[in-house]
Symmetry: D2
């Protein structure tokens, strides 16, 4: 069971809703993934014109918790404004804070992210900031009141996986709130690695929507999250430099 | 569907039966893993004394295909003799050929393995040789008539994972028969990596029996095999050096 | 030729002076390394009592540029105070800004580091801040006026090498000022990797002082820096998935 | 000092002479590398027509030990015939045995390589077989009388580096004769890695001849070999999960 603020989830997979080839593929992928949390850019919603077609309209939104994000924000002010807009539209009081430093790496601006987190926590949001894999920044986000932290494995959409598993591991060891690995994941292997490090969950988007078969990949990711979590809980064998017979034959007649 | 010789399997996970702390744990792990193929050392069976307790006795052997192995053999003759003994005992006509070169690395003796494979294929066995990750040896085993090949990821029981994924990938690309990654796997992540490379299956033993919670790890491995296979079939995204927005905002009003 | 602010160096290896087993070993290692820049913690100097023995006293300080650092500082104020103390003692107007966030990881506090950099640049120091491998923070340090930036490969003294070569590469690509890889380097291989990524230099301490033979390791590091730099300039071959004969025999009589 | 059979070398870098853009570049690269051993394909020599231009003619062959190789051989017989031809031409009694299994991977045929090694050792050659990274095959080559063994890091010319450093390390630990890492090296970093594993030397060709600036890369490789060897001898620091201050400040006044 994953608990973030007042929310509880059985599934540890958060799914982004962007860049699917059609709303039908999106819907099937969402279902195949088993996710309970859908994230999306508030700025892609037609919040001010409810008559416009909506990219979430194909989904049964009663079945999912919405996690709006502030994608597109490059300043504290923009992030805060977008978050308030999301709440005013009754989407959810959870918000993924995303303040991007540049368009090439899409890496988060740490200082602005901390600042926006502080403000939104004070305003009563359940705040999940997207952050780098820097353990010091992660710690400051926790001190700022974040309800979970979302360190990136690699640049958004890059599919490079977990560039620095050691720092992610330190973040996980130290964090009193859930750690959701976000950004950069390319395949089920990356998901399992994140979960075996002890992450509380993963957030995926491009790895699913950009796969050749997004629906099948969504299912792959569902099982990858479960496999990785069970593997983490089960306690893997240590690594050894040499072999160790799996069928020891000592004392047997040859 | 995995086909090896005349046998067909839904599950792509082969499980070794050695080194479980008790027959009860073994039984539960076997069930949790969803495996259809159990491997074991012929020399650990009390083939000549059916009154002795048997380490497979707890299992409903009608539900599983048995894959006896020649563990303990260090020469062609020993391997062949053990295989014949297994068939004479009506265990199965499948045989995992394992001719070990030394006790420190437990790496296979390539030349003896090829020789034993030839002999046993001619005698009508369904032969699955354990081999190194050398693509040239793998090719020669195929020419020798192997029905599947089982390259090791790393020394048996080491938990080091896939030491040379590039050569395993070449083996998989080239092989006209199924490739089952055997030996060295330590955790679900290694399983998913093997399956994403395109392996047809994996064989596990120590990674499950040696885990802190073997039954939970067996279940983890079941989902890992499925996640990796689905991920392979679904076609992962390419890796990029830079970011790529998952919620493109071009043309939106800021 | 490496230029940092008004300083020019032939050698691209900066050497820390801490933790050598004796001043004699320190001296020999400094000489074997070929370094022109020695770094040390200002707070380990007996600046207020010139009669006390000094850990640099064995070295001919006319031959080296001193790079005092603010090790031990955990706030902007401490770092600034230590830097001023160093300048007042006529050690050097170069300062390595080091503001540490915690004693377990010794990772830098990004926000305090940026702040201290700004203040010291305005006061006319030549400022080299120690930073994480986060490209966004690196960019902000450049904007703050840093004369070079010193991203860490891994936690100080850990010997883990370059945990995130991809982000270091982005920092190097983007930085208009020299990039000196600092912290975490364990062996000559790490040094060559850093230099092949295009780093302008490396700073070493524990990897030399903690080696079994520090003087020999210092010499190893001298050649490693040179090998890596030449390799970077020479332009390595691309990686290929398959082989390419080094002695092509096409058209030859067999 | 590296000793192979009756030969002694100061330099641990063996250089191939193939694929340079001109004989002049070849000559300068050979000199810059500091090598004492030049390898080349016997079949590229005009052994039967001494009036033809010779691709080694620019080099002062009194300064180098020649290591002819059997490149192009795909059978035991071809390899043996080429070796005898080389000796009959008074090139050298050292021979690098290379029996290739296929043109795509250029990986060695282990069984033929062992066989050819046996024959040539009996005929009095100083034999250096090119082999895979399989420790079992390496052991058999030593038993066959090889004077040094030359495991490949990766397919020839691929530049992939050391695909399986763990098996190379086992080969080095076990081998009573020198181990020269051959094939696959792409850059100075790979060289240093090989030497830090304890290799006695490396053989390079494409990594130098295919670099943008082959002469500069040859010099880079000279220093890389030296750096790696010194680093191996000097004894690197252990890796730690957390930091360790290089300027400990315990007991100092803050």
């Amino acid at each position: 069971m994953l608990q973030i603020g007042k929310y509880q989830f059985q599934s540890r997979l958060f799914l982004g809703t962007g860049k699917f080839s059609s709303l039908e593929v999106q819907k099937q992928a969402v279902e195949a993934s088993g996710t309970e949390v859908l994230t999306f850019a508030v700025r892609r919603m037609n919040l001010e014109n409810p008559d416009q077609p909506n990219f979430l309209e194909n989904l049964d939104l009663n079945r999912y918790t919405l996690l709006p994000n502030t994608a597109g924000a490059t300043t504290v002010e923009e992030a805060v404004r977008i978050a308030r807009l999301a709440r005013a539209s009754n989407l959810c009081d959870m918000i993924k804070v995303e303040v991007i430093a540049d368009t090439k790496t899409l890496l988060p601006d740490p200082i602005a992210t901390i600042e926006a987190t502080k403000i939104l926590v004070e305003e009563g949001f359940t705040v999940l900031p997207y952050t780098s894999d820097d353990p010091v920044i992660a710690r400051e986000l926790v001190e700022a009141g974040a309800h979970a932290i979302m360190p990136g494995g690699a640049p958004i959409g890059s599919g490079l996986g977990l560039l620095n598993p050691r720092y992610l591991e330190i973040i996980i060891e130290e964090s009193p709130v859930p750690v959701i690995i976000d950004a950069g994941i390319g395949s089920p292997q990356d998901v399992v690695q994140a979960m075996e490090l002890g992450a509380d969950g993963v957030l995926l988007n491009t790895a699913v929507s950009g796969a050749k078969d997004p629906v099948k990949m969504a299912e792959a990711m569902k099982w990858a999250v479960i496999a990785g979590r069970l593997g983490f809980e089960a306690g893997r064998i240590p690594k050894k430099r040499y072999a160790s017979a799996s069928s020891p034959l000592e004392g047997m007649v040859k």
